[in-house]
Symmetry: none
Subunit: 213 residues, 4 copies
DNA sequence: AATGAATGAGAATTCATTCAT
DNA sequence: AATGAATGAATTCTCATTCAT
């Protein structure tokens, strides 16, 4: 069918774009390079995405949808317990499907441009908002259940988000020493500071992203 | 004197580069734009830095030195107490001189490229190592003094670094709602989880970067 | 076919390069000028030859192959007699297809740069060696047949080569007074000094390049 | 005195220009490079020669005068015998002061540009004319004295000039195998073909520029 | 007399985009 | 639906020239 091949090619090109950004960086990501990576011809990107900016925006949308779907799935699968849900989010955020050089380097590239590209910022911002809304809701349930009346769900969610993003950055700056399990423990440790009863038992008291597990 | 003006021009061009990256993003940072921003002529960048890559690398070096100097100064001024020193680092990292859109957008831009530019990565990596070495040393002293034998200074330092970087990113993604004081509290809250006796008293228990203070 | 047009364009650009060097000199041969001469667009040379140096080298290769082919053809057509073969080489070397302002000015331009461009020198050197090998072989046969035991084929070949090149230069320095037939006679006169019996009859005893024939 | 230093600087810059052309070729001969070679400052050339073309023209004039002076001196010193005079010219033309890579590469560079630069051509042409006038006059005396009524002095002079220039080119194309003495013998051999009685005794019958002597 | 910082026109090169096939 | 030759605007880089000191 027509739309099948159209959809196939678009995804093929988006994947090639991610590969190219990850390997050569944003600055050296040219349409030639993307087409070459996709093993297709020169003019193909303009054929499917009209412009380069179109391709980039759709790449970001693709990544954002994929990311959002992956933690929504994790939450859905974790059952009704909010502590399990939050832990599943951490597991996903720092798991190998999400937290790998290929994906993270693209995120950082887009973050870098989002300051000057309103479309990028809007998307990153919306993604962040959705993530915060979800984690905030889960955290609220933990607060309600655990009787942490003085805790601020929004603030805790932001703290978690910052730590996850910061840990992703470590992967960019020093990929050789990055340790996914240690990174997960760092997040859990953060949550244990806020919800001692709920998170204390999950891992050893303190660890961080660049330590061998 | 001759060498004075040479130094002056280099700094003028580096500042113009930072302004241009912050305003237009890495992708649209052209030498023309930088020269225009510096109110100098076309060929000036090649005259002072040979190549565009030369300018970018020196810009990163400039920022790195400036940043390193700023937290070293903060530590020096904070006196002998390690708790005060760590707090001074947070105060600096999230203070208006370091944590502002102009500077942070350049950091993120360089992080995004550091994957594909070994020179960038090396510099970012070294900076991170120096920062970790310093905070690790301070944290070790807190551990020794407070009797936290089971704590891991390196891991705590990494966690703090991730959180600070993650909070900087918030500034890129949603600058309007970013709150510097809330961000500082988020860091202190993290430290309070690790060193309850030392950090509990400094701020209110929980807060985060995008909350109005 | 695709490869046909590719070959066509390359040759079109090489011809345009030769025209440009001949008309404006090496120093003023810009890619813009070449593209304009070829009635094609700005970026075309980089598209087909990657760099300017690439174009220049291929132009030299093109000329070298053309030149080599032309005297090889002349030798082949001249039959088994070595005297006729040598005469055919002179006829070709100083004929209007080879010895004209357009071609010679390009040769001299490349000779001038060959000192500093190893690739140019290598090519010129190889061409010269091939030419010498061929003429040396022909001259050897004349020596053997004519009983000139004390003659040195290599030395005679070098002398002829020098004279031909020197006559080409005359075309550059004083094109108005250059006379192709007189130049041919100068060469034959040189050969007549070496092989009196073989070459005496071919032309009048003495003449040279800048004399009206 | 004022004119002393002025004269000194001009010559210093002309020598630096020759060095630069010889080492880097015409294309890479920039005023910066020349100034650097002369161990003087950037703007110095424009100060003394107004423009780059001015410098190049004066360099050519300098070389031309030097060359002309050298063979005029050789002729003057050779005494009244025209055969000795002609031999002295050959000795000079292919001697180490005139026939060396540094000088020859500059000559060839200028010849290459003379096609498109009328000023260069005029100078090269005038130099060639003077040389021919001188050698023609000497050759005429040999003709008169030896009774070679059918010989054409002008044609012989042109032949000699072509051979000398052609031998110079050998130095550019294959400097390693060039042999100055062999080159001289090649010229003498040429003259021996025209004036057997006068030149036969001077050297062995045949030799050429690229043969080990 | 000389310097060398600064300029800006022009050259090489890159690359998104177009379009005939 | 896809190609890839060709374009030309934009970008980096070079360098002759100027000029304040």
């Amino acid at each position: 069918m027509r739309s099948d091949i159209k959809h196939l090619r678009r995804e093929q090109l988006i994947e090639a774009t991610i590969d190219t950004i990850a390997r050569y960086g944003f600055r050296k990501t040219t349409l030639s390079q993307v087409a070459k990576q996709a093993k297709l011809s020169q003019g193909i990107v303009n054929f499917y995405f009209k412009t380069k900016d179109g391709l980039l925006l759709e790449t970001l949308e693709f990544l954002a949808e994929e990311y959002e779907a992956s933690w929504r799935r994790a939450v859905a699968l974790s059952g009704p317990d909010p502590v399990a849900a939050l832990d599943a989010i951490i597991e996903t955020d720092l798991g190998h499907e999400v937290c790998n050089r290929r994906k993270v380097s693209v995120w950082v590239a887009f973050w870098g441009e989002s300051q000057s590209q309103p479309q990028f910022r809007r998307l990153c911002s919306k993604l962040s908002d959705d993530y915060l809304a979800q984690t905030r809701e889960i955290i609220s349930r933990i607060i309600d259940r655990g009787g942490y009346q003085r805790h601020d769900a929004d603030a805790i969610a932001h703290g978690l988000n910052a730590m996850v993003n910061g840990l992703w950055l470590d992967l960019m700056i020093d990929p050789k020493h990055f340790n996914r399990e240690a990174a997960k423990r760092a997040c859990r440790n953060y949550l244990a500071s806020v919800f001692p009863a709920e998170f204390a038992a999950i891992g050893p008291p303190v660890a961080a992203s660049r330590r061998a597990g």
